[in-house]
Symmetry: C2
């Protein structure tokens, strides 16, 4: 698949070089917008306007909608007013609004100038809603029906209006712009009689969101109810638009990437990896690194304050990385599981006792098994095989007891912190591995040295 794509890209570049525009056009016409956009992304920027102008109008707009915003800006800068108008005419309103959201002010001005009055009004309306809200991702183009229309009239209306609508498969039944219900094209086509009225076959009690619903919630509703489109109503419960499933899928992808970035200890970024500059990567990565480096001062302090114990029992130092590592891994296992379950809505804060009880039992099981293995391994490898006489039975016991307690504490902390974050209306993913590791590192050292004091009397 990817090899064929590479080959395709090379062939197209060469044709462009050799100015074989007619053949180029013929090939592009057989391709999908997403693939054309991917090819364009790798072409030298100055060739882009030439090849873009080869595309037939509709395909050009669809490809444009699939492109990254930096290339969109580049193209618009080169467009004549007429070309811009033509592309805008073919774009769906939500794509046009998304475009306007990403462009610098002077480009937005040009876009609004060239858009037809209805689209201009819609773009302005969508841009007014907060970023990441249902309002900002909706389209104002949808098919609306009246409750007293018949099935036949409804089909006729779809045939007349459908051309401009992103989806026609779900139609919304409204009275005075209030949402009463919905009818799918399947319902209409399969209705036994063309004279039945829409109100008789519509499903009442439709699922909807308000303009201010967070996009993450919107994405979740699409997955939960397998929706193709979701109506958006304003504060007065009047219908103002719909979110379509392609945008919902994009949001789900974005939100997942954001969760992963937070889990990896980075500020979320909206750009793809290869598009991000060194400076942007640096800016997204340095804050957590800095914070976690500074917070490691505590672990340093703990070690310093037990310096004498370590000097008396040098063998203890060798097990510090293993203890901290296993603690960190145990904690991140629990936190990742809980964070994912929270973001899929499988867990609520009220489940906290159940979660802690589950983690308690799992961590005891993990801890005991690890401690027993560790005990044997230390004795066999460190003492017998490597002949380290400082590793006494007592040292071994201290290490393994500390390991057991660390694993239990790590799993409880790892599960509890994301849930606490959720309750505090923070993103649970912020509480992921790097943060928990730091807490667990300090805990594990404390436990370790306390056991050492107690059992080895150092």
């Amino acid at each position: 698949m990817t090899e064929r794509f590479e080959l395709m890209k090379k062939t197209l570049s060469q044709m462009l070089e050799e100015r074989k525009y007619a053949t180029l056009r013929d090939i592009l016409e057989t391709m999908y917008p997403a693939d054309i956009a991917a090819v364009f992304a790798d072409l030298p920027a100055q060739r882009l306007p030439v090849i873009f102008r080869l595309l037939p109008k509709e395909l050009a707009a669809e490809t444009f909608a699939e492109m990254e915003s930096d290339l969109q800006e580049l193209l618009i800068q080169g467009f004549s007013d007429n070309e811009l108008k033509e592309v805008l005419q073919e774009l769906y309103v939500d794509d046009a609004a998304a475009l306007a959201e990403e462009m610098p002010a002077n480009v937005v001005r040009r876009i609004l100038q060239q858009a037809d009055p209805e689209m201009r009004r819609s773009i302005n309306q969508i841009l007014r809603y907060p970023e990441n809200s249902a309002g900002s991702m909706m389209t104002t183009e949808y098919v609306s029906l009246k409750p007293d229309m018949t099935v036949g009239e409804s089909i006729l209306r779809i045939r007349r209006q459908g051309i401009d609508k992103e989806t026609i498969y779900t139609c919304y039944v409204t009275r005075d712009r209030t949402l009463l219900g919905l009818v799918t094209v399947k319902d209409l086509l399969l209705a036994e009689d063309d004279d039945v009225s829409v109100s008789e076959i519509m499903s009442t009690n439709p699922i909807f969101v308000t303009t201010h619903t967070d996009q993450e919630e919107v994405g979740r509703m699409f997955t939960k109810y397998n929706l193709l489109a979701l109506p958006v109503v304003d504060r007065e419960q009047r219908m103002v638009g719909i979110v379509t499933f392609d945008d919902a899928m994009d949001v789900i992808e974005e939100e997942t990437t954001e969760d992963m970035e937070l889990m990896g200890g980075m500020l979320p970024s909206e750009k793809t990896y290869l598009k991000s500059s060194t400076w942007e990567l640096f800016r997204h990565r340095i804050p957590w690194l800095m914070l976690l480096m500074l917070s490691a001062t505590f672990t340093g302090l703990i070690i310093t304050s037990f310096e004498e114990a370590l000097a008396a029992q040098v063998a203890l130092t060798a097990f510090i990385p293993m203890l901290m590592g296993t603690g960190g891994n145990s904690g991140s296992q629990s936190s990742v599981t809980v964070i994912r379950a929270l973001s899929l809505n499988e867990l609520r804060f009220s489940d906290l006792p159940r979660v802690l009880w589950k983690e308690m039992r799992t961590s005891v099981l993990c801890g005991v098994v690890l401690a027993i293995f560790c005990f044997g391994k230390i004795w066999l490898v460190d003492r017998l095989l490597l002949g380290n006489d400082q590793v006494t039975l007592m040292v071994d016991a201290v290490v393994c007891l500390a390991l057991l307690v660390t694993v239990i504490a790590a799993k409880l902390v790892g599960a509890a912190l994301p849930m606490a974050a959720k309750a505090a209306k923070l993103d649970p993913a912020v509480m992921a591995s790097p943060f928990i590791t730091t807490v667990v590192d300090a805990l594990s050292l404390l436990v370790y040295f306390l056991f050492a004091k107690l059992l080895l009397k150092v």
Copy 2:
């Protein structure tokens, strides 16, 4: 939202207690299958058959399809043959096949007995394909058209056949079962003339997968091309079924969860967190913990072999956690970013040089900034504020030089390992944080002690 849901659950339970079946039924009828399934999941198991039987036939089947497999099994065990037959009749073939895939052998036998002959054939066909392949997630029910049919005839055919099809919005044009193209209901409804033939308006060159395409690839194609359905062909290029977008969304969710679990150092699990038993959680978590604990033997060995250096410069020990922690965090930032980009197909193995160059620049920037801050912090806090005389300028320099090298090495390793895994056809997510942390831990200690030997002559 969730509070309203809790309230609803309580009300329904109470009505069930009080045997107010008629009211209960009226309320259930207004609810969505996914919500009913969620309510059922929390009811006592022995009440489930009673309340399930209240649902009207179609809603019952839809709810059944949304339920977790353990509850499905429980219900089937209680069904009479007739009840089972009724539910199966209403299920779509892909849901029935998914059900059969999860049930124990004796239940599968009953399912196949009660299914009508056509469904039985389809289930058997779907079950033959490898798990996680397009074939195993497809449905064999779709609308197929012939190229010489007219638009009018096609619409008539949809109206006659549509009732049993999961989606009617994309119709597939075939000749001798070979896929020629596709036509959407939108195309048909918006066609200017009912007498135009399907072959004139169909899009040729449709996107398809084969029965053996991996489900992850299937999910990616839905997102990339914004598909509602995707045709599946066999080795002879004959069309055998379609994958619908609801199943694709489920796969995307599953695959993402799997990536996150791997990143968190766990074996992937198919069950939700609350449904997993302690024993299952243990089994999925212990292998990595054990492996990583054992591999920490290396870090222990490194420390042991530099024991004398540490004894001579006790202050060095205090900075080990900070060094290892910062290294681990730097590495996991890069690995998480690269793993996500790989799973979104934004990166290919051939991008490796670009990735390494990008990480090199970013890591030098991060490393230099961290090292400078760390140098100042150690001098100000550890030396001046806490008055630790052992922290000399030279010790400070050793720590910060080691930090710089560690950050650079960690970012390069963190980015390279997942790409190498991809090239070796392994899941890149396996190479995530815990694994990289172990490699980086060992590296950072080695670098640290080498600098100490070199600069402090210990």
